[in-house]
């Protein structure tokens, strides 16, 4: 017996070891609507700086002399330019956003789920098209049209903002569900899960991070759009801007603009934190 001879056999014993790699991540049907998140550093530095500027502006605005009976005083009416009116405007602004985004979630999530269901996929283009209207028509135009049948006031602004918030949420809900690995759905079906169980236990939990990103996007966009609500008497930070323009009060305009920006950044930051909390680390892997 030779210690080291393997005569008669040569070459590899296992020539055809093909194996399939994980397929490339499937792209959703509807693309993805994401908002770049503002990181903590920005949150902790930019927001306080802007707030200090606002405080200084409001303070200096209060010291500006307003002649009684003048045009300025008439335009401002009983409206006091001070910290009290800033707080009122903030409450109004937030109310517009929360109500409109909340209603948008209530409608858009079911719609987004619906267009991923068998039999409704064919209509997904139609529904997304309708939702698109809110996005592609300028918001000021929507306000103008809505004013025609809803009149002026907060409810018109809420309607316009609601329309505006639909698309990102519908689209991200549908995309999130579409992006769930089809192998996981197949395994679930093959093990005898009902469609309802698959939706509630598999698809929605796995789609949640993408869905939440859509809601966050909608809320942040709405902060900016809500500033236009002041044109139709809905209140909010926009009031400072549209009052400041005819009066040529730059400081007043700045207060409105900066507060709107601060709220947008703050909203994105806080929702980002909420997202970190809600989205289990495992669902990201």
């Amino acid at each position: 017996m030779d210690e080291k001879s393997v005569s008669g056999y040569s070459g590899s014993v296992d020539p055809d070891e093909e194996f399939s790699l994980q397929p490339a991540k499937k792209k959703g049907l509807f693309g993805r609507f994401d908002f770049p998140s503002v990181n903590d550093v920005l949150g902790w530095t930019v927001i306080p700086v802007l707030m200090i500027i606002v405080v200084m502006l409001v303070y200096s605005q209060m010291l500006l002399p307003i002649e009684p009976g003048s045009m300025e005083a008439n335009m401002m009416g009983s409206w006091e330019v001070g910290f009290g009116s800033v707080l009122d405007a903030a409450v109004e602004h937030l109310r517009l956003i929360l109500i409109s985004t909340g209603l948008a979630i209530a409608v858009a999530v079911p719609a987004g789920i619906l267009i991923t269901r068998q039999g409704f996929r064919d209509f997904s283009g139609l529904i997304l098209g309708v939702a698109n209207i809110g996005q592609s028509v300028p918001s000021i135009a929507i306000l103008a049209v809505a004013m025609g049948f809803l009149g002026i006031g907060a409810k018109t602004a809420i309607f316009a903002l609601w329309l505006y918030a639909l698309l990102p949420i519908v689209r991200n809900t549908a995309t999130g569900i579409e992006e769930v690995d089809p192998n996981i759905i197949e395994a679930a079906t093959g093990m005898g899960m009902t469609n309802r169980q698959i939706l509630l236990q598999i698809e929605l939990p796995l789609a949640f991070p993408v869905m939440f990103a859509g809601m966050r996007t909608a809320a942040v966009i709405n902060v900016g759009t809500a500033a236009l609500g002041a044109f139709i008497g809905a209140g909010g930070f926009g009031t400072f801007i549209i009052t400041g323009i005819p009066l040529s009060r730059e400081r007043m305009i700045l207060v409105g603009a900066i507060l709107t920006a601060v709220l947008a950044v703050l909203m994105d930051w806080i929702l980002g934190k909420v997202e970190d909390r809600l989205v289990a680390p495992t669902a990201r892997a």
Binding site: M1, D2, E186, G192
Partner: protein, 381 residues
């Protein structure tokens, strides 16, 4: 038992069938591998069993351990699927659920209590040689091979008599795949499920299958037979080509090392004197011998040239053995291991590393020649 009876599947708007008049029976407790080129409808055929796809024509019957036969088309698909173990290619573990929850998917739907699910999941995880701590981990914390094992564990969670496996080891690297295949074959000895196993790899089909069902493009059954018969007597040119020119070599997959090894090889005791050992080697005409201790545990090997002219005990001059082959290994794996370490002969050991025999390349060669000769005789008869 899984029985296909004239099963045909034609997809809408397709002129040719995906599965064409398929009839075969998988006896209870056997693995039937379905193999064929892509587009042969092997996955479609499998999915007809749990009605993920509905057949256009024909019937499929399942029988449980009590021998009760049921036509799957007459069952509620949800109930049917919960009674069949299902393991797929990309595993399909739920990433947001722990291993416990993953394994517990079907038990939970069947209304098992929490304690019972945890007990069963623990049992399965241990059966797959994994620690109990894994139950509370998430799939992404496990390696590919471990996930694959969990996939199998999830498939057998409620102890279903019938299992469907779609390339279950397709997503792991060749080395791990080999380990998983061997583990699964050992497991099957215990659990004795009736399994339909889809693969595109003829080697895997030969290794895993008690029977092989070879399909051609268009879902046409070309041959349904035992691996040995398919290798020895391909029914037609297609099967011959598909099995490959190296089918003699593939027969190595079917022979176990226990069948060809020398069960009483000359061995040295670790406590033998060097003079005695040199004398023994001279007698046998050997240049090296394996060394064992009193309870036959493999210690290493000693070379004649290291022992010559020395005095003392064998274990002072021996080298540790780089490899040994586990009892029950097939010849293909055994030969592969021998080529890797470049040994012409290796010890066959049991799980306690006790030497049960010796195998060398000549024995393997003889076994292959004999088995082809035997197969040819059957063919001529």
């Amino acid at each position: 038992m899984i029985k296909f009876e004239n099963v045909t599947k034609i997809y809408p708007r397709m002129s040719s069938p995906a599965v064409d008049d398929l009839s075969f029976t998988v006896p209870t407790g056997e693995i039937c591998t379905i193999v064929g080129p892509s587009g042969c409808g092997k996955t479609t055929a499998m999915k007809l069993v749990n009605r993920l796809i509905e057949p256009t024509d024909g019937n499929i019957y399942l029988s449980d351990e009590r021998g009760e036969t049921r036509n799957v088309l007459e069952m509620d698909p949800i109930v049917l699927r919960r009674s069949i173990g299902y393991v797929i290619q990309q595993i399909g573990l739920f990433p947001h659920r722990t291993i416990l929850e993953n394994i517990g998917t079907v038990p939970q739907m069947l209304g098992w209590g929490e304690a019972r699910i945890r007990r069963r999941a623990g049992e399965l995880v241990e059966m797959m040689n994994m620690p109990l701590e894994f139950l509370d981990r998430y799939p992404h914390e496990l390696s590919g091979g471990q996930r694959q094992r969990i996939g199998v564990a999830r498939g057998v969670a409620v102890d279903p008599p019938v299992m469907l496996m779609d390339e279950p080891f397709g997503a792991v690297d060749p080395i791990n795949r080999n380990i998983l295949q061997n583990e699964f074959l050992r497991l099957q000895q215990e659990i004795k499920k009736t399994i339909l196993f889809v693969t595109h790899d003829i080697d895997e089909a030969i290794k895993m299958g008690d029977r092989i069902c070879i399909l051609n493009v268009g879902g046409k059954l070309e041959q349904f037979d035992s691996p040995a018969n398919i290798l020895a007597h391909p029914a037609n040119e297609f099967v011959e080509d598909f099995v490959g020119a190296d089918r003699a070599l593939k027969r190595l997959n079917l022979i176990r090392v226990d069948e060809v090894m020398d069960a009483h090889p000359p061995l040295l005791q670790a406590t033998q004197s060097v003079e005695q050992a040199v004398g023994l080697m001279g007698e046998q005409g050997l240049r090296f011998m394996y060394v064992i201790d009193a309870d036959r545990t493999l210690k290493g090997y000693a070379r004649l040239k290291d022992l010559q002219g020395q005095t003392g005990w064998v274990d002072e001059f021996m080298e540790p053995a780089a490899t040994a082959i586990l009892l029950g290994t097939n010849l293909k794996d055994a030969l592969s291991e021998m080529l890797v370490v470049d040994y012409a002969n290796v010890c066959v050991v049991d799980t306690q590393n006790r030497v049960r025999g010796l195998v060398n390349t000549e024995m393997i060669h003889e076994a292959v020649v004999e088995s082809s000769a035997a197969a040819d005789e059957v063919g001529e008869a």
